[in-house]
Symmetry: C2
Subunit: 407 residues, 2 copies
């Protein structure tokens, strides 16, 4: 299992956790990454608007003179803007380090890469943990419920602010893939190429069900305090941990669980006949739960899962999905993974069929892997070759210069 961040000042574990918690909270309003702040209201699908609001982001590589080489990376449910840099709280490498960087498929020697924390998140963009304007307390449940379309509207404002008229590409997996789809639908003329990965055009009832279990686990925790845990100096760690454990099962395939854990016991030769973590899979899940609590805000988890549940591209277009993509000028590359049961390949087929029906330029690749939904975050050579190849071809079409060979 990956080791978590450990403070290097000789502090003991308790102090290290306190320091990490302080850092985590500091990142909410005053992130260590760049942040764009806006006084003009951000209109939301809920019918209200946010004002002021802010969006925290990271960039990698350099914007070319024509401003044509910008790639927007959209993160998934529990991701953040730290796609390819060390995380300021956990000290771990960026969540898409395998994909984004010099010489990587999303090549920062060639592209100017932007990754922003979504609205509703907890890493510096306005979300339920942010201090409410005119108050000294966080929004908590006074934050309006947000949608994928709201997230994308905020990103579009940021992209404008960075002086970019048209993105070369928008790339993302899972909830990030929903944002890619929304970009292609809401701002088709501002995206040259789009790569939605391991995603779907609407959340399925099974996925809504898993999200609902997570939300109920959080809200069942008395330390949630009706959403007001921050003012009460606590956080609903147990509930959030259970939510993460349930969700984590959906990120991995049954085959991978067999391969990695089987029924192997954890640090013991015999069953304990008790409720300790006898099996490695139990120990692994508990670890996933407890480390997640150190880096994520429980209310953000409620809001972002809700945004996924609400996502339904066709519903916004009279129930006719191809209408959403009508006259899409983008080049599309849709990717799915054979063992992903959260967003199975059938969901990608639905995207591809609608794009084809709308006359869009679309390629589709299903990657053979046993690593489940999480495959999009992992070192999957075939998947990386596909993304690299697609972006290289699109860059040629867009006339983006090939980087000079490194010394």
């Amino acid at each position: 299992m990956p080791s978590d961040f450990v403070a290097d000042d000789g502090a003991d574990a308790g102090d290290a956790i306190d320091i990490r918690e302080q850092r985590r909270r500091a990142e909410v309003d005053e992130p260590s990454s760049p942040v764009a702040r806006f006084d003009e209201p951000l209109p939301l699908d809920a019918g209200v608007s946010l004002s002021p609001w802010q969006i925290a982001y990271q960039t990698y590589g350099e914007l070319n003179a024509d401003r044509t080489n910008a790639v927007l990376i959209c993160h998934a449910l529990t991701g953040d803007q730290h796609a390819a840099n060390r995380h300021p709280v956990t000290g771990r490498p960026g969540w898409w380090d395998a994909m984004v960087g010099p010489g990587r498929p999303v090549d920062t020697d060639r592209f100017f890469v932007i990754c922003a924390n979504v609205i509703g998140g907890c890493s510096g963009s306005t979300g339920p943990a942010s201090v409410m304007p005119g108050a000294t307390r966080p929004y908590a449940l006074d934050m309006p419920v947000l949608t994928i379309s709201d997230m994308v509207r905020a990103q579009a404002r940021l992209v404008e602010e960075l002086g970019i008229e048209t993105l070369f590409a928008v790339v993302g997996g899972s909830m990030g893939g929903m944002q890619v789809l929304e970009w292609g639908v809401s701002y088709p003329e501002r995206v040259f190429a789009a790569v939605p990965i391991a995603t779907g055009v609407r959340h399925s009832p099974q996925n809504i069900a898993f999200n609902e279990v997570g939300r109920q686990a959080i809200m069942a925790d008395p330390d949630w305090y009706g959403g007001n845990y921050i003012q009460n100096g606590v956080k609903p760690s147990k509930g959030l941990s259970v939510a993460r454990m349930a969700a984590h099962i959906t990120y991995v395939s049954e085959a991978a669980l067999h391969r990695k854990f089987g029924r192997e016991l954890q640090d013991r030769e015999f069953l304990s006949y008790g409720f300790d973590a006898d099996f490695q899979i139990e120990s692994y899940l508990r670890h996933q739960g407890s480390t997640f609590v150190d880096r994520f805000d429980a209310n953000s988890y409620l809001y972002l899962t809700r945004a996924m549940d609400y996502f339904d591209l066709a519903a916004d277009h009279d129930g006719v999905l191809p209408n959403a993509f009508r006259s899409s000028p983008c080049r599309w590359c849709v990717v799915s993974f054979t063992s992903d049961w959260l967003f199975p390949t059938s969901e990608s087929h639905r995207i591809v069929h609608a794009l084809n029906a709308a006359g869009a330029e679309v390629s589709f690749v299903e990657i053979e892997t046993d690593r489940g939904h999480d495959a999009f975050l992992l070192m999957e050579p075939e998947f990386h070759r596909v993304v690299r190849g697609f972006l290289t071809g699109a860059a040629r079409a867009r006339g983006i210069a090939v980087p000079a060979p490194s010394a």
Copy 2:
């Protein structure tokens, strides 16, 4: 959704719940069904024994003069002995009413049917909610961890007590199917025919993971009180409800969720932009959670899920599964359902291959249905025809008389 039991004495909802809770608690030690009580110790796999102990059961039909027509029904995780009679707490029909009764596939006009609450359960057999011998409090976590093999050992003692040397058949699905397999392995000479349904020879890591999420949800509830909630006059309703919600997702197929709920809204035309149950699937899951709490004990849930996790038939036979079934004289009928992802057909194949390798007489049927794991509890005509046909053939071989045609 099925309506729950409502007291018919004009009491309001709160009183009805109190009355139901009193009934539920009364059933734990003094069930309204027959109960066999034993002073002789029941040895357990944990290396200790229970003494005294009791096992609550129901019977349907009549034992024939040769005592050859007894069928033991084994219930699943949250089942009980009330397979074919109205439930004393909820007032609802028996959980296998579709399968067991006069003229049903397990025909009570022909067979003497026994169904016993498992050891570790909460409907009258000794379990964590039972009063601990020599104390005035429940066992709670002082109950030793139990196994499927312990459950079967207790059932074997009951069957003996009822004067039955050899069961005509043992039938059960899911955790009940594990018990059927264990019967065939531990008492091969005492079972004529065995019908394991929607089950497996060992719990998979994914299934252990789901169980662990449920246990963590229960243990995270402060009203669990380290297992001592009964003495504290409360129960961990929220945690148990979350556990049930997570488990329930695994009982139904994605296709059935699409068919039954899709993304339909619950009692509203538009999204609420809130955390209410907007979607029918959310409302349905919450209902599953809250009604479960009314009829089940949280510690029993911990113990029974643990017993499932520990189940590994091959492990008890040097890791060689066919050795478990060596020289099995039973007739076997293994049944799986195409859309069951908790115990997929591949798990049944494993059973069938091992039985074949052991030279046992085995037939196997995979039922085409989109209703998932729960199909075994539902009115599935093809499934019922298979069970009826298999039992009829076996009864002929066993020389059990055909019932007289009803008037």
